[in-house]
């Protein structure tokens, strides 16, 4: 009988494989896993997949696909083979993220207070002033504990040498943490024996940690502050996550219309009258929070909310204007930001980045369009980008025009070949697929990171796109003690 991993071709010379070394032998922390999977027959796999699928379906774990009639709901594809990160590697990631998030928070605090980093010309002021997400209206408004980015999720990839690099910081409303939690539940159900063979660090208390973080930033001294989640509503693609987190934390899931501001304080409308709200974990973008301030056409927000926030009567998580720090142009300055505020070398490196706003970089970008990935500074989810090696000459020409017309809005990076991990590409066949990692960082009185995160995987053979909106899936991520 052919065993599952017998046909696995890692091509370790061309790619960094998470499981197989350069010399084609398995990395030791995967030994047990490979042995276990090799014992499974095709039927075993099918049974276990069915266990996982039933779990996801019963939990109603779906995401909404846009552009289809009424927003079709689909189950987020889940891969049965977990990704394993040894504790020693994890501690580097953890150290690197704590350093990075601490520095980015100091950066936000600085540019929304005294703007020292701009006066010291570490970052050209016009790049910050020109960022779409810079909210100059909130300069001088200091959030509780001086914390801006309470809930974040940076995307981490590995290069050819297996170095962990930060690809993107998501400092606004990163999603996916519910998949991290549910993937773990599904794995425990489908592979109880394998799970017990490893000492996997738990992720299950994330909702409690999140709630504690949100309570810590309450403006009110009362012991049990009222925390609510603000969702754009049932048609939002991450609605499941919002309702899941509300359930897990035991807080109300509110829409804009559930909230009302009266005399500069925020309330929920309940069957027992108006109830004061202290902290809002908002999954609504800045622009849509308050029709009085940003977008008059917004139906998602609450009129007067930002004045209540300004006054300190309610805390928003994350704070207003954090998007300026995850702008892809500002991203390229993060190593400098870390050095400026902490006086340290970055633990985790950035991916090399060229700025179209810099004339020398621009020239390089335009000359090497076919080799680079060009991204719009303020877009996310894989939108507004050009993948050079996969583009046509006409596409490159059209994109070059866009870059020249608005250089501030574009950056370029080399096409990085993400590391690969064995994943099921058919019911019974395992092949190497590209993956990344999104760990979830919480910042209340201190910074904490759940050991693990969401490993996203491009389940189409050869594809580099891991976004759920574009055909990606995910796997459980096990951080193990060495």
């Amino acid at each position: 009988m052919t065993r599952l991993f017998d046909l696995y071709d890692a091509e370790p010379a061309r790619y960094f494989d998470e499981v197989i070394r350069q010399d084609e032998s398995p990395r030791s922390h995967y030994d047990i896993l490979i042995r276990r999977f090799n014992q499974f027959s095709a039927d075993d796999i099918r049974t276990r997949r069915e266990v996982a699928n039933i779990f996801f379906r019963n939990q109603g774990i779906t995401f909404t696909v846009y552009g289809v009639d009424e927003g079709t709901e689909r189950i987020f594809p889940f891969d049965l083979i977990p990704r394993i990160i040894p504790g020693s590697e994890w501690s580097t990631i953890e150290r690197g993220l704590i350093q990075r998030i601490t520095a980015l928070n100091l950066f936000l605090s600085d540019i929304y207070q005294s703007q020292k980093i701009l006066r010291d010309k570490v970052i050209p002021a016009e790049l910050v002033l020109g960022s779409k997400h810079f909210r100059r209206e909130f300069i001088g408004v200091r959030p509780p504990l001086d914390i801006y980015i309470h809930v974040t999720g940076s995307d981490i990839i590995r290069d050819l040498d297996g170095r962990y690099l930060v690809l993107e910081d998501n400092l606004r409303t990163p999603s996916g943490v519910s998949y991290m939690l549910q993937n773990r539940n599904a794995m425990k159900r489908a592979f109880p024996v394998l799970f017990n063979r490893y000492t996997v660090r738990p992720v299950e208390n994330y909702p409690q940690q999140l709630l504690r973080t949100l309570q810590e930033i309450s403006p009110s001294p009362k012991p049990d502050p009222n925390v609510v989640i603000l969702t754009p509503g049932v048609y939002n693609s991450a609605y499941f996550e919002h309702s899941f987190l509300a359930q897990q934390m035991g807080v109300e899931l509110t829409e804009g219309r559930d909230l009302v501001v009266n005399n500069n304080k925020v309330y929920t409308r309940t069957t027992r009258g108006l109830q004061r709200v202290d902290v809002i974990y908002r999954r609504v973008d800045d622009d849509f929070l308050d029709p009085l301030v940003f977008r008059p056409d917004s139906v998602l927000g609450v009129a007067g909310l930002l004045n209540a926030y300004r006054k300190g009567n309610v805390t928003l998580a994350n704070a207003i204007g954090t998007g300026v720090a995850d702008d892809k142009v500002i991203y390229s300055f993060v190593p400098k930001i870390i050095k400026y505020y902490l006086g340290e070398e970055p633990v985790l490196d950035n991916v090399e980045t060229w700025l179209a706003s810099d004339p020398k970089h621009l020239k390089y970008i335009l000359e090497n369009l076919d080799k680079l990935v060009v991204k719009a500074a303020n877009e996310s989810g894989g939108y507004g980008m050009l993948v050079g090696p996969q583009s046509s000459a006409a596409e490159r020409e059209a994109f070059a025009e866009k870059i020249v017309a608005d250089p501030r809005n574009y950056i370029a990076q080399p096409t990085i070949s993400l590391s690969r991990h064995p994943s099921f590409v058919t019911d019974t066949e395992v092949a190497p697929c590209h993956i990344d990692l999104r760990p979830y960082v919480l910042y209340g009185k201190s910074v904490s990171i759940v050991p693990g995160g969401l490993t996203r995987v491009a389940l189409k053979r050869g594809s580099l796109v891991v976004n759920s909106s574009q055909g990606g899936g995910s796997k459980d991520t096990w951080v193990i003690d060495n």
Partner: protein, 288 residues
């Protein structure tokens, strides 16, 4: 001069509406060097609790909300201001980042091709003050003042295409030209005494002009492209400044309910005898 401003905004609705939330930017600037606000009184009916804060541009913003259903909202601001011709002395100081920020495009101020083409002729003028006043003179001389052709949301591009507009539009054009030519400029919301359509100075709207940073020697200088006098003097009452209209709208608000809305505005600026101003009270008053 000692001037009194009565600015009333009335919103009327056919059907009851509810959950009004409103921000008001009507408090005249205080201690700017050329004016002092002796008193300010804001009255809202139906009655509402008033809150205020000072925004990023230093403007005093008042806000309130009304939950219960209502069919009209009346906002009356009365202020007494003492104005004088520019007195502050050089050198003037301004934050470099603020100046940098006031060089870029903003919601209503765009560097569209028509602006770029027009800007070219002013480029040779070296002195910032002379450059600004030439721009001001040009707008005053070539654009036609005509209410009703533009609306409150017209951008500089629209106004360039029309060649006509009102003070708000001309201020935006002037800001676009100045900023594109490297002169930091800001939008000013305020009132003009004696500029009204009736001899009694009634039924006026509020006024808008701009201030241009003319270097440390002259500092922020007010230019009014709408009026032939071009330069701002003691007839001008400044409420506040911002990048453009959207930063300093006199009244901005939202409400819920399905009803058509009718807005009427009346502004009355009158000169007081110094003694009368004394009676009103010298100290700035908290709004009631």
């Amino acid at each position: 001069m000692i001037l009194k401003v009565e600015h009333t905004t009335l919103f009327e609705y056919e059907e009851p509406i509810y959950e009004t939330a409103t921000e008001v930017r009507l408090h005249p600037a205080n201690s700017t060097g050329s004016q002092r606000c002796a008193s300010f009184n804001l009255q809202v009916t139906p009655s509402a609790m008033l809150f205020d804060y000072t925004d990023f541009y230093g403007n005093r913003v008042h806000h309130f909300n009304i939950l219960q259903s209502h069919k009209q909202v009346r906002i009356m601001a009365t202020s007494v201001i003492e104005t004088q011709n520019h007195t502050a002395t050089a050198p003037h100081e301004e934050d470099e980042i603020v100046l940098l920020d006031l060089l870029s495009e903003s919601r209503y101020v765009h560097f569209d091709p028509a602006i770029l083409a027009l800007a070219a002729q002013f480029r040779p003028i070296r002195d910032p003050y002379l450059k600004a006043i030439e721009i001001c003179r040009h707008i005053n001389g070539t654009f036609l003042y005509e209410p009703g052709v533009t609306d409150v949301h017209s951008t500089s591009a629209v106004v360039m295409a029309l060649g006509r507009g009102v003070c708000q539009d001309f201020a935006h054009i002037m800001l676009a030209l100045c900023r594109h030519l490297g002169l930091p400029g800001r939008y000013v919301s305020g009132y003009l005494y004696g500029g009204g359509s009736t001899p009694e100075g009634q039924d006026e709207a509020s006024h808008a002009w701009c201030e241009v940073w003319c270097g440390k020697e002259k500092g922020w200088t007010g230019f009014d492209p709408t009026h032939k006098t071009l330069l701002v003097d003691d007839r001008y009452i400044k409420i506040g400044t911002g990048r453009d209209y959207s930063d300093v709208p006199p009244v901005r608000g939202t409400y819920k309910g399905a009803s058509s809305e009718k807005m009427s505005v009346s502004v009355r600026v009158s000169a007081l005898e110094p003694a009368a101003a004394e009676a009103v009270g010298q100290r700035p008053k908290e709004p009631e």
